[in-house]
């Protein structure tokens, strides 16, 4: 069953460019053009694209904030812009740079207030709260006013706030932006658990491709308002960057290795980098071949980072 | 001097970006001009002249004060206080320019922009639509211009000191509101100072707030001309200078506190 479905979604904005004191020119800019995709229940999808590509416009349409100019969409069984208030109770939204919490009140009071706004039954609320508090380790800061929380604590608070009413879909916009490494890991672990245990569908917009790598099997890439890639992360790699790199630390420094099926791209003392095609050769095969000509002390295999993959798509598009 | 000119221009430009706010403010100032004018007019028509104000004086007074609001900006200016509260002031202190000079120059830029639209606008509306008192000669006009410039200086002096409050007070917004109330009451903005009882007049004329509003208007209407005009402008200059010196001491003390205690 599809929890999110869009078909031919289009949104134009009219912008006025001022030239001179009074004269202005009217220009129609297409933010989202003919976007169609669907997300099945329990999927966790990364929504990626450069600034101004139309990511947040799509999210705003899906959450009922904006009315699309053309196309259809449904989220959790509702047409978002027609049933905004009902939809609100079935989705959770976290905007990384905007707070949904009450700045001057203790965290727990924000949660309590949200219970009333979302009209969540007391027991359900308490169960959700207990679970989030435990998993996100919020126990110690529940009585702290939000303004005194660290960014990481606040983001964990925001996540909790978005989940208290038990949404079926979670929209996350840059949930790890500005966080330190530890908090990022905590947030990612939590989201992975949430998706696994509760089968919550997650649509994740992010600049941090580590988020995607860690969390999403499927990826939607949008540029200039259109979806330019929809598929799995691994398939994306296969198509656009099918090479992996074997990094070997040899016992002795030497000249670049000449191994059949691999290209030695870099040498740094005893460490060498060998690039090979993921489909044509297996890593073990290659390791054996290296072992035949040199003594290996240590090795790692590097996957191409998704950033360069995405960059390739962009350049291929243009 | 070149530096100051640049700062003034920068101040002018940065305020010029708030176009919608400027138009909205202008609209509000004009509507209030009509309302206040109607009330003063009704009072004078019934009582004959009040405190030496004829109807033409009162209308000039109303529209000039409506124009001065944004120019002297004595209400609600908290740009510096917000920078101190947020800690951004640290960057200001690392610049190779004296902060007081920087903010003063910027404020003159702000005032110049305010004058162009929100200053001239209400005055133009009032002076075209109503029969108002106008200075009889060039000298009085020029004195008025000098007096308005001094009014901005005094207003800046007061605001600068109040805006340093967050260095010492957590409740600096309270201090700002106290300053707003005093400015409304004492400047001659609420009602011409001449309309107040004698004892209040004496107090109000002696304090710096009168220099921000009532003084330029007295000069404009010729209520302070000749020797009394010189005295009025002289008192403005004295207050401007005194406040500037106070601001300097406050800034030195404040900087020391920020540097020592790390804000």
């Amino acid at each position: 069953m599809n929890v999110v479905e869009t078909h031919g979604l289009t949104k134009n904005f009219v912008v006025y460019e001022r030239n001179g004191l009074i004269r202005r020119t009217r220009e129609v800019r297409t933010a989202v053009a003919d976007v169609s995709f669907s997300v099945a229940a329990g999927e966790m999808v990364g929504y990626v694209g450069p600034n101004g590509a139309g990511k947040s416009t799509t999210v705003k349409i899906l959450t009922g904030i904006l009315v699309p100019d053309a196309g259809t969409c449904s989220v959790a069984g509702f047409v978002p812009h027609k049933r905004r208030l009902e939809l609100a109770r079935r989705i959770g939204v976290v905007f990384g740079q905007r707070s949904n919490l009450w700045w001057d009140l203790p965290l727990i009071e924000s949660f309590d207030l949200l219970r009333h706004l979302y009209r969540v039954d007391h027991q359900k609320h308490q169960a959700n709260l207990d679970e989030c508090v435990e998993r996100l380790a919020l126990e110690d800061v529940l009585k702290t006013p939000v303004r005194q929380l660290s960014l990481g604590q606040r983001m964990r608070g925001e996540l909790t706030a978005a989940l208290l009413h038990g949404p079926t879909v979670l929209f996350l916009d840059e949930p790890t932006i500005g966080l330190d490494v530890v908090s990022k890991a905590a947030v990612r672990d939590f989201l992975a658990d949430l998706n696994r245990d509760r089968n919550t569908t997650v649509l994740l917009t992010t600049h941090d491709l580590d988020d995607i790598e860690r969390l999403c099997k499927r990826l939607l890439i949008i540029d200039h308002g259109t979806v330019i890639y929809d598929g799995g992360l691994n398939e994306l790699r296969d198509e656009y960057e099918p090479y992996r790199t074997l990094v070997v630390d040899l016992v002795t420094s030497g000249s670049p290795l000449a191994i059949d099926g691999a290209e030695t791209v870099k040498v740094d003392g005893p460490r060498q980098w060998l690039r090979f095609h993921r489909d044509r050769y297996s890593a073990s095969e290659l390791i054996n071949r290296v072992g035949e000509v040199a003594e290996i002390r240590d090795l790692t295999i590097e996957e191409p980072d998704i950033e360069s993959v995405v960059a390739k798509i962009y350049t291929r598009q243009t | 001097m070149l530096l100051d000119a640049h700062l003034i221009l920068a101040g002018f430009r940065s305020y010029a970006t708030y176009r919608a706010a400027t138009i909205a403010g202008l609209f509000t100032n004009i509507v209030f001009g009509f309302l206040r004018g109607a009330i003063l007019l009704a009072a004078i028509r019934q009582a004959g002249d009040i405190g030496g104000y004829s109807t033409t004086d009162a209308l000039a007074y109303v529209w000039l004060t409506q124009g001065l609001i944004a120019v002297i900006a004595i209400w609600n200016w908290n740009e510096l206080a917000l920078r101190i509260e947020s800690g951004d002031i640290a960057t200001d202190l690392t610049r190779p320019i004296d902060p007081q000079r920087y903010w003063l120059a910027r404020d003159f830029g702000r005032a110049a922009y305010a004058l162009c639209i929100r200053g001239i606008g209400p005055v133009a509306v009032g002076f075209v639509l109503f029969d108002v008192t106008v200075p009889p000669d060039v000298w009085q006009w020029m004195s008025f211009v000098v007096s308005v410039a001094l009014a901005v200086w005094i207003s800046f002096g007061l605001r600068f000191i109040v805006n340093l409050a967050p260095i010492w007070l957590r409740d600096w917004r309270g201090a700002l509101i106290v300053s707003n109330v005093l400015a409304t009451l004492m400047s001659g903005f609420l009602m011409p100072i001449a309309w107040f009882p004698h004892w209040a007049r004496v107090v109000m004329h002696a304090l710096p707030w009168a220099g921000t509003t009532q003084a330029p208007i007295d000069v404009f209407l010729g209520k302070a001309s000749g020797p009394s005009g010189i005295a009025t402008i002289g008192l403005q200059a004295a207050w401007g200078f005194a406040l500037f010196v106070c601001g300097r001491f406050a800034l030195i003390a404040g900087t020391r506190k920020l540097v020592v205690h790390g804000g």
Partner: protein
């Protein structure tokens, strides 16, 4: 959901939001107290204006000092209550500009309730107290009889005023969906309206009176009901039954303003800015 259920749900949400806003402000008691005193002082300056004028003349038109004080008090209470209850919608343009309006749209609560409830200006209690004090003293001195009719009329005057001012606030906030950054444009009608209604209407003349008193029906905030309570003749020749029309007028303009607000939200949802 039926209209009735919707209204009651909104009301409950509003109460919870207000409660949170009050608790948040109570965290800074000293600050709140100072702001209340300041609010009181700022409203008092307007009353000082009245006092200064009547220092020079016994009557303004055919209105005495106490009668004007009565108007001033009624207008001040009505305006203060309204400003306290929904004054934070003044910030609509700012919310749109900073994108916070999006967060508000994501709540399962109406936008108006969400914004109005987000920041109840408790400090206004100071101004309301000042206006109330003036009103009580003026009522006692002006010699009205405290019978059922007059008490009802006073209540109607004050709450009718609150609702009409609320409509003005709402309509001027809605303009900000089209003119982001123009939050001051509302001040002309809100604070300007409060100023106007503090004085007898005949003081003003021409298009200004027609616009603010009848088009924006501020005449129904204090002036017309006060004529009924004080049993005064009207110089303007306004039909006498309109002295009792405040509640009906308030209901109509509030609904109209709410419709305009909805239009503003719809505009936002189609343009996103």
């Amino acid at each position: 959901m039926s209209v009735q259920a919707e209204v009651s749900a909104s009301w409950r949400a509003y109460r919870h939001l207000i409660g949170a806003s009050v608790r948040a402000q109570m965290q800074f008691r000293t600050s709140l107290f100072m702001q209340m005193v300041a609010s009181c002082a700022l409203t008092a300056t307007n009353f000082i204006e009245v006092l200064v004028i009547f220092d020079h003349l016994p009557m303004l038109g055919n209105w005495s000092a106490v009668e004007v004080a009565f108007l001033y008090g009624a207008s001040g209470i009505g305006f203060g209550l309204c400003d306290m209850a929904i004054g934070s919608i003044e910030r609509t343009g700012e919310l749109v500009r900073t994108g916070k309006f999006d967060s508000i749209m994501l709540r399962p609560v109406g936008t108006l309730v969400s914004i109005a409830g987000s920041d109840m200006a408790l400090r206004r209690v100071g101004g309301i107290a000042q206006a109330a004090l003036v009103f009580v003293v003026a009522s006692a001195r002006v010699g009205i009889e405290f019978n059922v009719r007059n008490v009802v009329l006073i209540v109607v005057m004050i709450f009718g005023g609150t609702a009409i001012f609320a409509a003005v606030f709402l309509a001027t906030a809605a303009i900000q969906f089209w003119m982001v950054g123009a939050n001051e444009i509302g001040n002309a009608l809100t604070y300007g309206g409060n100023y106007l209604t503090s004085f007898p209407l005949p003081v003003f003349s021409g298009w200004l009176r027609r616009l603010l008193a009848y088009v924006v029906p501020l005449a129904f905030c204090a002036y017309l009901p006060a004529l009924a309570i004080l049993n005064k003749p009207d110089e303007l020749g306004i039909p006498a039954f309109l002295r009792y029309a405040s509640p009906a007028v308030a209901a109509i303009v509030f609904l109209a303003a709410y419709g305009f607000w909805r239009l503003g939200v719809r505009h936002y949802r189609s343009t996103g800015s």
